[in-house]
Symmetry: C2
Subunit: 247 residues, 2 copies
DNA sequence: CACGCAGAGAATGTATCCAAAATATACGGT
DNA sequence: ACCGTATATTTTGGATACATTCTCTGCGTG
C-alpha cells in the first residue's frame, strides 16, 4: 500500500502517531489479553501499516509500562494487578491533590462560578433521574479544572493525564449508579468549597479523598472481571485527549 | 557498517537502547544547545549508527518532553525555563513526599538504622571538612530510600526517577558548599526522625521541604554561571519555594 | 524413556531505499 | 526594487529487505 503520508503540520496525523494512539487505546480498552504475544507483523497487518510504525509504537508503550518485552520474542500486555491499580490511583490522587492546591491560589471568581454551575446542573440531573446528564456535567466540572492545570502546570498536567489513561485499563465497565453519582457531586461540592476558601491544604485533602472514592468504585467493578469485551475502537480519526470524569 | 546486533537477553544492550540512553544523557548534560536543530542523519553519524535507532530514540524522547518537534523539520531541545525547573522540582517534592509517607508505615528498624549510619558518616565528613565524603553518604542515604520505594511502589519509583533525570538538566554545576552540605544533613535528620516516628504527614512535610531546599540551591546555580558564591546557597533566590508544607 | 543437540522456522533488529513535504533559493514579472 | 511563484534541496516518513538470534521441534543417543 502506498503511504498516504500525513505530516503533523497539515492537520493530519502521521501514521506513526495514529498507530501509537490506536494501539494504546486498544491496550487500555483491554483488547489484548494479558500475557498474549504481540507480534509486530500481525499488528501491522491488523492496522494496515508496515512494521515500522508498529515497532516504534511498541517501544514507546514500553516506556510507559503498557507493554513489556517478553523474553526476546515480542511484547505482551502485562497482567492487571490490584496493586498496580491501587498504586496508579494513589499517584493520581497525590498529583491531582497537589494540582488543586496550586489552582486555589490563582483561580478566578469567574471559573469558580463556572464550576458552581456545573454542580448545579448535575444536581438537576439527579432530580430528573437522568444519570447521563449528571455524567455530562461532572465531566465538564473536571474538564474545567484540567484546563486550568494545563495552563498553569503543563508538566503536571501531562503526568495527570498519563495516570488517568493508565487507570482506564482498570475501568472496564463504568457503571454509573445513582449512589455513586450523588457521592461524586458531593465530592465536587467539597472541592469547590476548598477552592473558594483558597485553602491549599484543604484542597489537597478533598481531592485525594475524591479520587480515593473513585478508586473504591473501580475496585468494586474489578472484582467480577474477566469480561472479554471485543468492542471495536472505531475512533480512528483525530481523537482529542479524552478526559473522562472521575465517576 | 555491519550491525553489532545485541539482543536484550545476551547481556548486551541493543543499539536502539544504547542510542536512546546516550542521546538522553547528552541532552540532560546539555550537549545540545537549546533550539538547535537535531538532524537524524547527523546524530546517526555522530553515534555511528543508522537513522533508524536515532529516529526511534528521538520519538521516545519527545514522549518525555526532552525534545520537541520543530515545525516539520526535525527536533530540538526546548530551552530551559525557570518555570519548567520549578515545576519539575514541585512534582518531585510531591511524589517523594508521598513516597516517604508510604515508607514510614512499613520501614524496618534495620533500615532506619542504616539511614542513621549514613547521617553519622556524613557528619564525620563535615568534621573532617571532606565534602566528597558528605556527598557520598548523602547519596547513600537517598539510595536506600529509593530502593525501598522501588520495592514497594514500582510505578511511583519510576516517576520519581524520571523527575530526577529531567531535573538533571538544570544542575549543570553541582557545587557543594559547606553550607548546603550542612543544611542537607539537617534535612536528612528530619527525614529520619519523621520515619522513626512513623508519622505520614510529617514525612510528607519534611521531604517536601528538603526538596524545596534542593530547588533553591539549584536555582542559585542557574541564575548565572559565575555565581560560585556560597552565600547564595541560602533560600532567598528571588522566587519563594513553591511547594507548600502540608500543614 | 529421557535428555540433549542440531536444524529449521519465526520474529525482531538494523539498514537502506523511495516517496512526500516543507523550506530555501532563484528567477521572472510587475 | 520587491514580491510571488516555481523548482530544487534537505530532511523526515514509511516500507522493505537482509541479518541475527531465539525458540521449538524432531531425531538420535545414552
Amino acid at each position: 500500500m502506498t503511504a498516504r503520508s500525513a505530516r503533523q503540520n497539515s492537520g493530519r496525523l502521521s501514521v506513526r502517531e495514529q498507530t501509537y494512539r490506536l494501539l494504546k487505546k486498544k491496550i487500555l480498552n483491554g483488547h489484548f489479553p494479558p500475557e498474549e504475544r504481540l507480534v509486530e507483523e500481525s499488528l501491522a497487518g491488523l492496522l494496515g501499516v508496515s512494521r515500522t510504525p508498529v515497532r516504534e509504537a511498541l517501544h514507546k508503550l514500553e516506556l510507559e509500562g503498557l507493554v513489556r518485552q517478553k523474553g526476546a520474542r515480542g511484547f505482551c500486555v502485562p497482567a492487571e494487578t490490584a496493586e498496580e491499580m491501587s498504586e496508579l490511583f494513589e499517584i493520581r490522587a497525590v498529583l491531582e491533590g497537589y494540582a488543586l492546591s496550586c489552582l486555589c491560589r490563582t483561580i478566578s471568581e469567574d471559573d469558580v462560578q463556572r464550576l458552581s454551575e456545573c454542580i448545579t446542573r448535575a444536581e438537576h440531573g439527579i432530580l430528573e433521574n437522568k444519570l447521563d446528564l449528571v455524567f455530562e456535567h461532572n465531566t465538564e466540572f473536571h474538564d474545567i479544572i484540567y484546563q486550568l492545570v494545563r495552563k498553569e502546570r503543563p508538566r503536571l498536567f501531562n503526568l495527570i493525564e498519563d495516570m488517568r489513561d493508565y487507570i482506564l485499563r482498570y475501568r472496564k465497565n463504568t457503571l454509573g449508579t445513582l449512589r455513586a453519582a450523588k457521592r461524586s457531586i458531593f465530592g465536587h461540592k467539597k472541592i469547590l468549597m476548598a477552592l473558594d476558601l483558597k485553602d491549599p491544604v484543604l484542597c489537597e485533602q478533598v481531592m485525594r479523598a475524591h479520587i480515593s472514592e473513585a478508586e473504591a468504585d473501580t475496585a468494586c467493578t474489578m472484582t467480577d472481571a474477566s469480561s472479554a469485551d471485543p468492542q471495536q475502537a472505531n475512533n480512528s480519526g483525530g481523537q482529542a485527549p479524552t478526559v473522562l470524569p472521575l465517576k
